[in-house]
Symmetry: C2
Subunit: 438 residues, 2 copies
């Protein structure tokens, strides 16, 4: 038999401890923000009925990117490409029992059969934050505030990112009332305009003409949608008053100022979004990537035959976020070294070494002991290579005095420490900066 | 279109916040133990090449239970049914670069197409703990110690669980040397004996006869394997000396005594186990379920065409563990209530309310604010229903004095508190027991 491959399948990643440590540290900061707003974690199965996505996720995703298969019971299933349909299903299942508003979050792995290109993966991990049960503009405000605080929590500055928001309903109103498009043309125009930043205005105009827009209508549509906040001046005052996002824009309460702009070119692919949509972009002009995005989906829960429960939320994925942090040089350093290694020069004391290690673990320290009987020099060499900071050396003479040697590999210092004081001294040592290399 | 179902697919579970909170609390305790032993978290893709499991996982699992499908690129894939092949693949990929021993852990979701029955699910979550790069018996000791500490960390007592260990190689030696079986008969006998506790000795004897064992050989085999530790008396001293598990048994260093027994009936299904195997069982005689299990797999990494790197590890799944905790009434209570709600009787102060909430979040508290303009009475009612402990009421008069009212819903007390003292007073309140209901 030829050897098995050590490479994960295309478009997926192994997370070795150093990469996993970065992912964990980043997401733990995100969790803390989300939980500080009272959001509760939930989870759902990784595999769902295919029809859950067929209903409303958008045809490109469903037809080209969903991992679809038939199980041993002939069920038509999909590995989840996104989390919103699952959380809407769960909210629908508890409709009538839940205290609303419900604030929920999750951290699923999602699968899409993406074409292979830089920064695109077939499996990624995403924090999903959703708020159910209110149509108030304060929901938009809270969701946008959380999004901004998540960016600040991972070390982004105000100038590092831009929050672009829009309101599909407001854009529909303007395109119908000011440009005279019919509902079908508006729907078609959304699909076309979503790509304008990639294909440019001329090709977009040509696509709009195919939808039956006159030259003047196409020009006006493009002009309206490519001038950012000026778009709001075209909207009727009553439409603006009904737009949650337009109302929330100037009222965000955040720990640092946020760059937030209304931009009608933010459209988002999912068909279920009903009004507010938004995305966070890196302001780096060379790499203006979208880091997170979401919107309001007021009719999704009703698809399950339940009363209408409005929802709003967003997802933030690990791939673009960690890329962003690395680009801005603010990604956390991996933390993978054990804090303490306990060893002995005397083979007969190995059980004693393990007891000392066990007592240090009870104090919350990360402690390893050798598993083989190498010489002390070899063990110290390996500990240094692994980045261990504190080495406890348990010799018979010191133990007889109720003490051990503590060697600080970060500063090349060694002291005798009473066993009773050991946890405290180790904590102090770990909190001391290591010596600069000359 | 008929409404979509709110029910997850058969054999899977939704984790609503109250269930998720229990799962999170339990697994966070397990992580702390594993990390205290210096183990580093890793992760691998949820989908792997099918051939990864075909090689060594055992034919029943592969033929009847693996979720196998073909992707849009015609690859033969599987949703992972277990984690060991993935971690062996990753270790093989870094062979030669890793500092050994390598201590790794993960927390994957795993899929098997199980027949529907109580306590069996098609998706479950499992902590996997693995140690690579040493053949020392101290690896067995460390792995068994971690397993025991994990049980203690979730609240199990010594008498609540039994660690049953065996050594396949030792059993092979005895069956060959004492009973005269050939290697093929031994392999067949393992498959048959794995079921003896379900089908009984007579049916087992009949199955053994089909493998070509004489009546005397079958009787002797059953007698040897059903008398627990007496088995060790049959083993040759040199076999015992080579058995890591037999050596580790009496040398475990744990924070509480552990019931550990050699039991040759512990066989484990995976074909890749080479010697040590072990399982943790609930001692409840009515429900002697297996809670965790693992073993030594010294040849798995070599399947990837790399140098032989021995491995030993185990998995502990959420389903049987949480069942165990509930049976013994030691499962943690869900923690899902926000700690603080900030509200105001004065609509014009809503931005101020949000600023107070934001400042409390900066102090690490979990804080919600109302998203709609209901009356204070309604908001308080809802806060009580949600289990909120502290309600901050920001009125104009108090704010003019730099203060707010703090209502403790757990003790029906209300006081005026200076804003500067608010975080400290809230922390104190949260630490105070709630009043007993009369």
């Amino acid at each position: 038999m030829s050897p098995l491959s050590t490479v994960p399948i295309p478009g997926t990643r192994d997370f070795f401890p150093e990469e996993m440590s970065v992912r964990q540290q980043v997401f733990e900061r995100l969790y803390r923000v989300v939980e500080s707003f009272g959001y509760l974690r939930y989870d759902a199965p990784m595999v769902e009925p295919f029809e859950l996505y067929a209903a409303k996720s958008g045809s490109d995703l469903v037809n080209q990117q969903v991992y679809r298969f038939t199980d041993r019971g002939e069920r038509d299933l999909a590995i989840r490409p996104e989390m919103t349909p699952s959380v809407a299903r769960m909210i629908a299942a508890r409709a009538g029992q839940l205290v609303l508003p419900a604030r929920w979050y999750s951290h699923p792995n999602l699968w899409r059969y993406e074409r292979k290109q830089r920064g695109r993966y077939r499996e990624h991990w995403q924090v999903n934050v959703d708020l159910f049960g209110t149509e108030s503009w304060e929901a938009e405000a809270e969701i946008l505030e959380i999004l901004a605080e998540m960016m600040f929590a991972v070390g982004a500055k105000t100038s590092d990112f831009l929050l672009r928001v829009s309101d599909r309903q407001l854009v529909v109103n303007v395109l119908q009332q000011q440009v005279g498009l019919d509902p079908q043309q508006v729907a078609g125009a959304f699909g076309v305009l979503d790509a304008i930043e990639k294909v440019g205005p001329e090709e977009t105009a040509a696509h709009l003409a195919k939808l039956g827009l006159s030259q003047a209508q196409a020009d006006r549509t493009i002009q309206l949608l490519t001038h950012g906040e000026q778009f709001l001046e075209q909207a009727a005052p009553e439409s603006l008053q009904q737009s949650n996002v337009a109302r929330a824009l100037s009222k965000l309460v955040t720990s640092q100022p946020v760059n937030v702009k209304f931009d009608p070119l933010i459209i988002r692919g999912f068909e279920y979004y009903t009004s507010s949509v938004f995305e966070v972009f890196d302001t780096n002009p060379e790499n203006p990537r979208s880091i997170a995005g979401g919107g309001r989906y007021d009719n999704l829960v009703a698809l399950f035959g339940k009363p209408r429960i409005p929802g709003i939320g967003f997802g933030m994925g690990d791939v673009t976020l960690i890329d962003f942090l690395q680009t801005h040089k603010i990604a956390p350093a991996p933390q993978i070294a054990p804090e303490v290694q306990v060893m002995t020069p005397d083979e007969s004391l190995r059980q004693r070494v393990k007891e000392i290690a066990a007592s240090l673990r009870q104090e919350g320290l990360r402690v390893v002991t050798p598993l083989d009987s190498r010489k002390l020099g070899k063990l110290l060499e390996r500990a240094a290579k692994e980045g261990v900071r504190c080495v406890v050396i348990a010799g018979g003479d010191e133990l007889a005095r109720g003490a051990v040697k503590l060697r600080d590999l970060g500063r090349s210092e060694e002291r005798e420490i009473a066993l009773t004081a050991l946890p405290v001294v180790i904590r102090e040592t770990l909190a001391t900066p290591t010596q600069e290399k000359p």
